[in-house]
């Protein structure tokens, strides 16, 4: 069981933010911190890793107290034994892929497991390359396996897939999940991509303006509004064209442009660039695998 309780006032791009959270995580679970940017997600990970100091707080992992500001206990990041995957990957440019992993190793067993890790992440053929010569997806995989070399019980992922394209993202989601399962880590992921969260996590902590607004399994958190027999899509208006008495709207939803019909009432106050919700009721969608 991981118990986290922290308070910190932060200076964000949008102004001052009072981070005040209190939650528990089961060991071995895959939990996602979900929320808009500026909600304090990354800061929570960094506080858990010991890289940022909260104004007040208490962190306990199993029976070990990592942080207790009331008792002046504060374990250094080096002693917390966590794996951290940074948003910019933070690979050491002066070392090859293999050297990055060797640097992370702490024992002989860690060293002998490196080939296996490289193999699992299909990085063996790239082991002697410098990180900056690799693609984003490859760098991400190096960062992930480097964080796992010491077999940490806790793995923290700070938006690890945000810089990658859709296809690569899906591939890596599978890889992250498999590694999470086979290493039995407690994984805490920061993300704001719904598909990622839905596929991977068994717990979601939804944050808004530094506060936890909901915690639970994905279906429970998103079930209330996002999953229903209604289909509801959010998109960006690209063009509005008048055709006789009606209007044709081009709306960009995901990577698709959808043409839809609108009345004059609906298009008043609308202009290209606006974000709109497109929804339809009582429909029976046909689903086909591509």
């Amino acid at each position: 069981m991981i118990q986290i309780q922290i308070q910190k006032s932060l200076l964000m791009a949008e102004g001052k933010l009072n981070l005040d959270v209190d939650f528990r995580l089961e060991m071995g679970s895959f939990c996602t911190l979900y929320g808009k940017s500026g909600a304090g997600k990354t800061t929570i990970l960094k506080i858990l890793a010991g890289l940022v100091q909260p104004d007040a707080g208490f962190i306990q992992v199993n029976d070990q107290v990592w942080l207790d500001t009331a008792k002046n206990i504060n374990l250094a990041p080096q002693k917390r034994n966590i794996g951290f995957v940074f948003q910019d990957y933070a690979l050491f440019p002066n070392m090859t892929v293999r050297e990055n992993l060797v640097y992370a190793a702490q024992s002989k067993e860690d060293l002998s497991a490196i080939d296996d890790l490289l193999q699992r992440a299909s990085l063996l053929s790239l082991a002697d390359r410098k990180p900056l010569t690799l693609s984003g997806g490859q760098q991400q995989r190096v960062a992930l396996v480097r964080a796992l070399v010491r077999k940490p019980p806790i793995l923290l992922l700070d938006e690890p897939l945000s810089a990658l394209d859709l296809e690569m993202r899906q591939l890596l989601q599978d890889q992250i999940y498999q590694l999470h399962k086979s290493f039995g880590t407690t994984t805490l992921l920061v993300s704001h991509q719904l598909s990622e969260i839905y596929r991977l996590s068994d717990q979601i902590i939804s944050l808004d303006k530094g506060k936890v607004i909901a915690q639970g399994p994905p279906a429970e958190i998103f079930g209330k509004e996002r999953l229903s027999s209604k289909i509801q899509l959010v998109g960006e208006v690209l063009a509005i064209k008048k055709s006789d008495v009606i209007y044709i709207l081009d709306v960009l939803i995901g990577n698709n442009i959808i043409k839809t019909v609108a009345t004059e009432d609906e298009v008043t106050n609308l202009q290209p660039g606006d974000t709109v919700t497109v929804f339809t009721k009582a429909f029976n969608p046909i689903i086909k695998k591509r």
Partner: protein
């Protein structure tokens, strides 16, 4: 005419010792400055940068007073460590370190500030101490800055004149570096020797700077 090579060896010796010591002193100072949030940081930065704008003779004059055996610091050093800093090689080294400090600290500080803090944080989360992180992650990734700092300090020490003249004087084999030797030869109207010394310094300075630009280009490419 036989040229006295001693000033040249003395100059290279002084520049090498100064650069080596500056590397040891400059890295911790640059580290502190790159990470400091203290309100005294601008004061420290201003003091370190003083030699950039101050005439070397001003610095030399104050050091001459400070090192003088009749004053507190000079007396203390000479009584407790048998160290004579006025008109001696040791004094030149101390003076040169102060004089060239900004040339080491500024490039290294800029290099340290440009390196993403996530590299340091990643190393900490992998269980590595601050020292190991510094030696294996931070310093290898600011090689171009370290090289620039070393070369500029070396070249700047070779080029100093006013400070050496003030605290070192013109003692053969002790404090007569090339720049002083040139002044001395001109005073004694030995223009031929002055020519040779000057030409050697010119070539030396040019080749040092050329090699740093060539090397930096290669180092930047390597990353």
């Amino acid at each position: 005419m036989a040229l006295d090579w001693q000033p040249i060896w003395l100059t290279l010796q002084l520049a090498t010792v100064t650069t080596a010591l500056l590397l040891i002193i400059g890295i911790p100072v640059a580290l502190w400055l790159a990470n400091a949030t203290s309100r005294f940081k601008p004061v420290v930065e201003a003091i370190i940068s003083l030699p950039l704008v101050l005439p070397p003779s001003v610095l030399g004059f104050y050091l001459l007073l400070a090192f003088s055996p009749s004053r507190a610091l000079g007396k203390f050093l000479s009584e407790n460590f048998d160290l004579q800093l006025v008109f001696s090689f040791a004094g030149l080294v101390v003076g040169s370190i102060i004089y060239s400090l900004p040339f080491m600290v500024q490039p290294v500080q800029a290099g340290l500030e440009a390196i993403p803090s996530s590299l340091k944080e990643a190393s900490y989360t992998l269980g590595k101490s601050k020292l190991e992180t510094l030696l294996k992650v931070i310093l290898p990734n600011i090689k171009p800055s370290l090289l620039t700092g070393m070369v500029l300090s070396f070249a700047h020490t070779i080029g100093e004149f006013g400070l050496v003249l003030m605290i070192g004087g013109n003692i053969p084999d002790q404090t007569r570096v090339v720049s002083i030797a040139i002044y001395h030869e001109v005073e004694t109207l030995d223009y031929a020797s002055a020519h040779i010394y000057s030409f050697i310094l010119l070539i030396l300075a040019f080749s040092i700077l050329l090699s740093v630009y060539l090397l930096n280009k290669r180092l930047v490419k390597a990353f």
